[in-house]
């Protein structure tokens, strides 16, 4: 039985944290894995801190990643890094905005997808499926900007 992969995404309301976690969860779901995704709605819509957990593997129990057990911590806002570092496992990977060259982004709003590009290099989902799932989460007029962001992160 292979172990559960734990991913924590963090940022501020409006940055697309939940969209990013939806995309990862969908990839795991399409791969036929057991997957759980957890988040808190409500007050987070008003610009406050937002986090979302995604866990996948053969069998997942709690929908929340335990402290200190995240394999990947993806943080969209620099100021949210410190508060969430405790989630990361000792050998875990921190992915933060400075992993990509922000000046190269067509739209600053696509930062979430750029950081998914960085994350994608560590996960065993094929690049084609990543692209397919990302496109499925956006209207057509935003496809080019988000594909560009994904490439930017993937090649960073």
């Amino acid at each position: 039985m292979f172990r559960t992969t734990n991913i924590v995404l963090a940022g501020l309301g409006g940055q697309g944290v939940l969209k990013a976690s939806d995309i990862i969860a969908e990839l795991a779901f399409r791969a036929g894995l057991d997957v759980k995704k957890s988040e808190i709605h409500g007050m987070s819509q008003r610009g406050g801190s937002v986090t979302s957990d995604v866990r996948f593997g053969e069998r997942v129990f709690s929908p929340m990643v335990p402290e200190g057990e995240a394999d990947y911590l993806v943080v969209l806002a620099k100021e949210e890094v410190a508060g969430n570092l405790g989630m990361l496992a000792p050998a875990g990977v921190l992915i933060e905005p400075d992993k990509v060259d922000l000046s190269q982004l067509t739209s600053r709003k696509s930062l979430n997808i750029a950081l998914l590009g960085v994350l994608s290099r560590f996960l065993e989902f094929s690049e084609d499926v990543w692209r397919e799932v990302i496109l499925a989460h956006f209207p057509e007029r935003l496809h080019a900007a988000n594909l560009q962001a994904f490439e930017l992160g993937r090649r960073a």
């Binding site: 309301g13 995704k37 819509q45 008003r46 929340m64 508060g83």
Partner: protein
């Protein structure tokens, strides 16, 4: 009834309840928006169900009761505090019972992600005498919805589906078909006066009938209820329910587990033999010591969680600590940025004025509750939906005149329709000596819960046009001497001056500050455009 497809889904607990309602052919869904329950009716509507927002949870439950009296399947959804509002019909519909099915979803919020308290609504099942199911993930949310409908129809009794934030809002895999939807009957009225008319003479026997039903359901739950026994590899046994079960399986993988799906009436016999089969039996449950008390009342020796874990949500780490009897202080949660009123939110102008005029603000539930935080700090009390008006009046009645004249009640549009109407009637009936000022913040939507419609928007849950509640007409109809309708964003200084004039007047005043929520404005324009097109 639709054919249940063979399919693998990835759904939130809320969506899973809605899907089960669709598959069971539920005739009517009613509720009032409230985190974390809101998405149930939205998803039910999106999948073709008849779903509607009521002015408040009490009305929603009454609509559900009527439908279930008429032989239909009805689902009524609300957050935990909503069940307080609906408690009056709840206790008596337990007596009357139902002809069809009545499923009442209570979505509790342990940890208060978006609520004013963390009450444990499992207590309502005992207090009212209603069977209760507690799902732990989306698959169970789906299955238990169908089971609840079955139990409701078999015993003619309303059933409580008690969910919590992490079950409602976590997405997990759901496979269909799983539990089979019970066969559906068409609604039809059959007269049954002694069962449904709760005058004392009929209510006395109705109470006895309720207790008989509960005894039968307890026996059924003991034999065939949705309870799960997992063998362990050691001396530890854990009794648990709901989301805590998921944490337990991860925190204590070797433990024997008795996972209860129907926690009222609880399968006390199963709990008894489980506890006897292990050396140490711990009850791991979120919130109140509910199962612990049931076990101890029955003389079952169990260990509960230390009091410190009664507060907030459970997690895998906290369950590890409970199992290890670790009562050392927990690390404080990371600070994080608090939410705030959106930049450009029209409420900002209102709260700036309330702050600048040093008002004593009796506040209410909604986005505008954030007016309590810096830079405004312009809220002095907040209790429950609608309390701003009554509490403001109470302060006005007893404070010395200089302070009484500064009291303002602030309430949102959806909250006003929910339970501000009677407060306004109270103001007219028992007016304070120095008058009062009620500010209705009408931003054209139920913003807090994610832009739901309400009677004051004149659009239904599905955003189609319907009858409209008009705030100013209602206030004028009550004979309130000053009723002002203004857009504070057009003239912030003018708004502050108006508020000052109202406070100085010593009269009863209602100011309706009307401007659409920034986040909803584009959608509202689109709905209005569609209405105009269809009118042409």
């Amino acid at each position: 009834m639709p054919e249940v497809p063979k399919r693998r889904w990835f759904l939130s607990g809320d969506e899973a309840v809605a899907l089960a309602c669709c598959h069971a052919g539920v005739h009517l869904g009613a509720g009032y928006p409230g985190t974390p329950s809101t998405e149930i009716l939205e998803a039910f509507d999106a999948w073709g169900g008849q779903a509607q927002w009521s002015p408040n949870e009490k009305v929603a439950l009454e609509v559900g009761i009527g439908a279930a009296f008429a032989g239909a399947r009805a689902v009524v959804t609300m957050k935990h505090v909503g069940l307080n509002v609906a408690a009056d019909p709840l206790f008596t519909v337990a007596y009357t019972g139902v002809t069809g099915a009545l499923l009442i979803v209570s979505a509790d919020d342990p940890g208060m992600a978006s609520s004013q308290n963390e009450q444990d609504n499992r207590r309502y099942a005992v207090a009212a005498g209603l069977p209760m199911l507690e799902p732990s993930d989306s698959q169970e949310s789906y299955d238990y919805t169908l089971r609840a409908i079955e139990v409701s129809e078999r015993w003619g009794i309303p059933v409580l589906l008690r969910m919590t934030t992490r079950v409602c809002h976590s997405k997990t895999v759901v496979n269909t078909p799983s539990y089979p939807p019970p066969p559906l009957r068409d609604p039809a009225f059959v007269r049954d006066i002694p069962s449904r008319v709760m005058i004392p003479a009929y209510a006395r026997s109705a109470h006895r009938r309720l207790r008989t039903k509960l005894a039968e359901i307890a026996a059924w739950n003991e034999r065939q209820g949705p309870n799960l026994l997992i063998e362990g590899a050691g001396s530890l046994g854990i009794i648990t329910s709901g989301i805590a079960y998921q944490h337990v399986r991860e925190a204590a993988p070797q433990a024997a587990v008795l996972k209860l799906g129907m926690t009222y009436p609880a399968p006390v016999g199963q709990m008894q033999s489980f506890a006897a089969s292990v050396d140490r039996c711990v009850v791991v449950e979120e919130g109140d010591p509910f199962l612990v008390e049931i076990a101890r009342t029955a003389g079952i020796p169990v260990e509960g969680k230390p009091e410190m874990y009664r507060f907030g949500e459970l997690t895998v780490q906290r369950v590890r600590r409970i199992v290890n009897r670790d009562e050392s202080p927990e690390p404080p949660p990371p600070p994080g940025k608090p939410p705030s009123l959106c930049p450009g939110c029209p409420h900002r102008i209102v709260f700036s004025a309330l702050r600048d005029l040093d008002c004593i603000v009796s506040g209410d539930i909604g986005c505008y509750s954030l007016g309590v935080l810096p830079p405004f700090q312009a809220m002095d009390a907040l209790v429950c939906m609608g309390a701003s008006i009554g509490a403001g009046l109470g302060m006005r009645h007893v404070l010395p005149p200089a302070q009484a004249r500064r009291v303002v009640s602030v309430i949102g549009d959806s909250t006003f329709v929910h339970s501000g109407l009677t407060g306004l009637v109270e103001m007219v009936y028992n007016p304070p000596t120095h008058g009062h000022v009620v500010l209705i913040l009408d931003n054209g939507t139920t913003a807090m819960t994610g832009m739901q419609e309400h009677p004051g928007t004149g659009r239904r849950l599905d955003h189609q046009k319907t009858g409209k509640f008009v705030f100013e007409d209602f206030a004028r109809m009550l004979g309130i001497p000053q009723v002002h309708v203004v857009d504070p964003a057009l003239d912030p200084d003018g708004f502050r001056e108006l508020l000052q004039r109202c406070l100085d007047s010593g009269e009863l005043c209602v100011i309706i500050a009307r401007r659409n929520c920034l986040l909803a404005a584009a959608s509202i324009r689109e709905y209005e455009r569609c209405e105009n097109v269809s009118n042409d």
